[in-house]
């Protein structure tokens, strides 16, 4: 039982680390050719880097039929857009001060972040 308990505690530790403590440093810089795929429960890439203090455009390509995937919301920027299925949809972002700006679907199951640098 001792080993099972130890494994259980290790599993809890892993959950805490993996979902809350781990901080990815990889962010993909936005380009004209970059499409953010909305597929199978995630935005890919999840972390997008843009130039701070200048307007930018994100291209979304939704291939996920789930209704939740049909909307992308940038709560801090008061932007919400319907994403058509299997078509690229461009979302214009205003010039942003340096910082991180979350975006997500309506239920917040799909999550991504725009990093203005």
């Amino acid at each position: 039982m001792f080993i099972i308990n130890l494994l259980g505690i290790a599993l809890i530790g892993f959950i805490v680390w993996w979902f809350w403590l781990y901080r990815s440093k990889d962010a993909v810089a936005v380009t004209e050719n970059l499409s953010i795929r909305v597929e199978n429960g995630v935005y890919q890439p999840t972390r997008i880097e843009i130039q701070a203090n200048q307007a930018s455009t994100l291209h979304f390509l939704r291939v996920d039929e789930t209704p939740c995937a049909g909307q992308v919301i940038f709560p801090d920027l008061e932007i919400s857009e319907d994403l058509p299925l299997n078509k690229v949809f461009s979302v214009e972002l205003p010039a942003l001060a340096p910082g991180e700006y979350d975006f997500h679907c309506q239920m917040q199951m799909y999550r991504g972040v725009v990093i203005a640098k």
């Binding site: 979902f19 990815s24 429960g41 995630v42 291209h59 209704p67 919301i73 319907d82 917040q108 199951m109």
Partner: protein, 746 residues
């Protein structure tokens, strides 16, 4: 690299069928284009490949035509597409439900009536092996999307509903297969299989998702109606010829023809003809509005009687209708503060549930009775399955979606979720008198000369003086003079004395026109005309003093009729417990008379424009949550300072961005409607949040087995699956109840 996908372009200037080949060839020559097909009738080209839109447009332009991207430009097209996609997904979910339940139901019936699903003999092992493999196939067909979603989320260090379902059903299936394949590895009493639970859970959750999808479709009916108001084509005069073109091809300055019964395609100013226009779909105002030369027409409204031509002033996304749609969409997706706690909880929810599942399993393993392993698996699985982050996530947005849409249908535009929430808490409402309680179109009712000049001369001089002013009272004087065909003179050295009056030189005479304070300041003797002025004020008329060359010359009284339904609407506000206060720059007696007529007891009179905000602050200092209603332009500072600023529109001339809530029509009932719909929406959100919190807070401990030590109760994972599937459906259905909300009859 950008991936291959479909893009659509609208082609301009393609007049003959031979253009088709030329345009297709030009597009196919672009690097990355795999397919280009033109629909000549619709002037659209569909392009497959990974070339950018800019390259495609450049290629078409090089071939001698103009091209515009069509992707997601046409709102109605996007909605149709969305509906088609949702319907296809719904059919898929129903198919997957049927497959899973076809296996799950017989297995569950067997477990209920035929006995324990355990393995004691080799025959049983063989039978369960076959059933286990079939369940695995069903899991793949009906539940693959949960597992793929869970894995993708996991790789991105996030967890969602898919994670819980995949872990729950996956654990049940893997444990059962271990029991079947390696029975010796599991204590004898724990050799129980859970294939029925696996299949039933997947089936029920797919069914819940399908029903939720249908219910969600109904939450966006209001925005669909608004989008449906947009005309698809317009008749435009180009090079002297009338041509029918797609709505997104209409340019500003185009001359557009609209016949009776047709919808106005873009905003503009009438250049020919007169008509009456039904604007009810935008303003909620049932009576058609008469329109003539130079009057504004607005996209989405319906031309009723006459044929008109108008010059387009705002097209595409700049039309009032497009802005309204945009605002409603934005507001529908914004969150009121009440939803923020749910957001915070949602972001931690799934990992917390996973931890609870592990703890629950450990507790059962350490302290549970035999078969502890089986009980641990059941409790962990049930915890994972019963937890429903979706209900929490949906609770606020679904209600906001329906509430904001419902308000828009009543001609009330709510800017965002915060305005919606605050409006529901308003305790005091300040109403600006002119244009809000009154029609804002005052008329001259009385002229009392002092003897020096005749009535007509007083009116002529006063009107000449007021020509330079934009004040509504000034306009009434000018209009009255024009009705009598009086010759107005040019005013010189015009000076507006804010909040008090105006002065200027007309025909060599020094004129002064304004309130009693202005006259006192200028040491003008008013004799006993102040008594007469008070009599006018008691009749809700506004008296104004007129002086020529430093001598009092006469009294002009102006009355602004009270809006027909103001009294009833103010009663509605008061009945809902709101303290209604009137604010005006007018003199105290007139203000009091108007206030008495409409049933208001508190009045701020003789308030200068820059003091309006101070009055708002004064009420806030008393602890009131203050709503301020004004015309949206002159009251900007007060509207901004108020907890909720209401801009009251007249017709469709609205300052959409200037207030938290814009009332598209002039009626004060819109105000009462806005507050009523806000309260109903907040009530609905609270019901949803309460339901979602209670469901999870009670369901998770129950699933973990807290009742087992006392009553021997342990929840079945199948029941948990059903509860989870229908909890989010309940939230969406409750939000849809808001669609039945009706403002009081008026």
């Amino acid at each position: 690299m950008r991936e291959a996908h479909q893009q659509e372009l609208l082609i301009e200037g393609a007049g003959c069928a031979s253009c088709v080949g030329k345009i297709e060839a030009a597009l196919k020559a672009v690097d990355g284009v795999e397919r280009a097909e033109m629909n000549f009738a619709q002037r659209t080209v569909s392009v497959d490949g990974n070339a950018s839109m800019d390259l495609l447009m450049a290629a078409v332009e090089k071939a001698g035509y103009n091209a515009k991207p069509m992707n997601a430009k046409n709102e109605e097209g996007v909605l149709d597409e969305k509906e088609r996609a949702d319907h296809a997904y719904y059919k898929r979910l129903i198919r997957e439900t049927a497959i899973a339940l076809t296996l799950g139901i017989p297995l569950m019936v067997y477990s209920l009536f035929a006995g324990e699903m355990t393995i004691t003999t080799q025959t049983e092992q063989g039978v369960w092996l076959v059933i286990g493999v079939v369940t695995g196939v069903v899991l793949y067909i009906s539940g693959k999307h949960f597992f793929v979603g869970a894995w993708n989320s996991f790789r991105n260090h996030s967890a969602n509903m898919d994670t819980l379902i995949a872990l729950g059903t996956g654990t049940a299936w893997v444990y059962s297969m271990v029991v079947v394949l390696l029975p010796w590895a599991v204590p004898e009493l724990a050799r129980h299989v859970y294939f029925e639970a696996t299949a039933m859970i997947i089936g029920l959750i797919d069914l819940g998702l399908a029903l939720e999808l249908k219910a969600r479709g109904r939450t966006s009916l209001a925005i669909k109606r608004l989008i449906g108001l947009q005309a698809q084509t317009a008749s435009v005069i180009r090079d002297g010829v009338e041509v029918d073109i797609a709505i997104d091809q209409v340019l500003a300055e185009d001359i557009v023809r609209v016949r009776p019964g047709e919808r106005i395609p873009v905003d503009g100013l009438i250049t020919e003809g007169h008509t009456s226009i039904d604007e009810s779909m935008l303003t909620g105002e049932p009576m058609p509005v008469e329109k003539q030369l130079d009057d504004e027409v607005v996209a989405g409204t319906i031309n009723q009687t006459g044929s008109i031509m108008f010059r387009a002033t705002r097209v595409g996304k700049d039309t009032a209708l497009a802005q309204i749609i945009n605002m409603v969409k934005r507001a529908q997706n914004s969150k009121p503060p009440i939803g923020r706690l749910a957001d915070v909880i949602s972001s931690y929810f799934v990992p917390v549930v996973m931890i609870i599942a592990v703890v629950s399993a450990l507790v059962w393993l350490n302290f549970g009775p035999h078969p502890a392993v089986a009980l641990a698996i059941v409790s962990a699985t049930t915890v994972l399955i019963i937890a429903c982050p979706c209900a929490l996530g949906l609770a606020t947005p679904m209600s906001v979606m329906v509430g904001v849409g419902k308000a828009a249908e009543a001609g009330v535009l709510i800017r965002n979720g915060e305005a919606l929430q605050t409006a529901s808490k308003i305790t005091a409402m300040i109403l600006d008198k002119t244009g809000t309680i009154t029609a804002g179109r005052p008329k001259v009712t009385d002229i009392v000369p002092s003897g020096q000049f005749q009535e007509a001369e007083i009116l002529r001089l006063a009107a000449s003086l007021e020509m330079g002013s934009e004040h509504p009272l000034a306009l009434s004087i000018v209009e009255s003079a024009q009705e009598l065909n009086l010759n107005l003179e040019k005013a010189e050295e015009f000076n507006a004395i804010t909040g008090h009056g105006v002065e200027a030189v007309v025909g060599g005479k020094q004129l002064l026109f304004g309130n009693a304070k202005l006259m006192r300041d200028r040491k003008i003797e008013l004799h006993n005309y102040q008594d007469q002025a008070q009599l006018f004020a008691a009749e809700a008329k506004t008296p104004m003093y007129f002086a020529v060359d430093g001598e009092f010359a006469g009294l002009i009284a102006v009355a602004d009729p009270i809006k027909e339904d103001a009294i009833e609407a103010i009663k509605r506000l008061q009945h809902s417990g709101i303290r209604v206060v009137m604010l005006t720059g007018d003199n105290a007696n007139t203000a009091k008379a108007v206030a008495e007529k409409v049933g208001i007891t508190e009045v701020f009179a003789e308030v200068l424009p820059d003091q309006k905000a101070e009055k708002v602050a004064a009420l806030q200092a008393e602890g009131e949550v203050v709503g301020m209603t004004g015309d949206g332009i002159n009251d900007a500072p007060a509207l901004a300072l108020a907890n909720v600023g209401f801009a009251i529109g007249t017709g469709t001339d609205v300052a959409i961005e200037s207030a938290d809530i814009t009332l598209m029509r002039g009626s004060l009932h819109g105000l009462a409607d806005a507050i009523a719909v806000s309260k109903a929406t907040l009530r609905n959100i609270k019901q949803n949040l309460f339901g979602a919190f209670i469901y999870n807070a009670a369901g998770i401990p129950f699933a973990a087995g807290v009742l087992y030590p006392f009553f021997g109760l342990l929840l079945s994972p199948v029941i948990a699956g059903a509860a989870m599937a229908f909890s989010s459906l309940t939230v969406v259905t409750n939000a849809n109840r808001l669609r039945l909300f009706k403002a009081e009859n008026h």
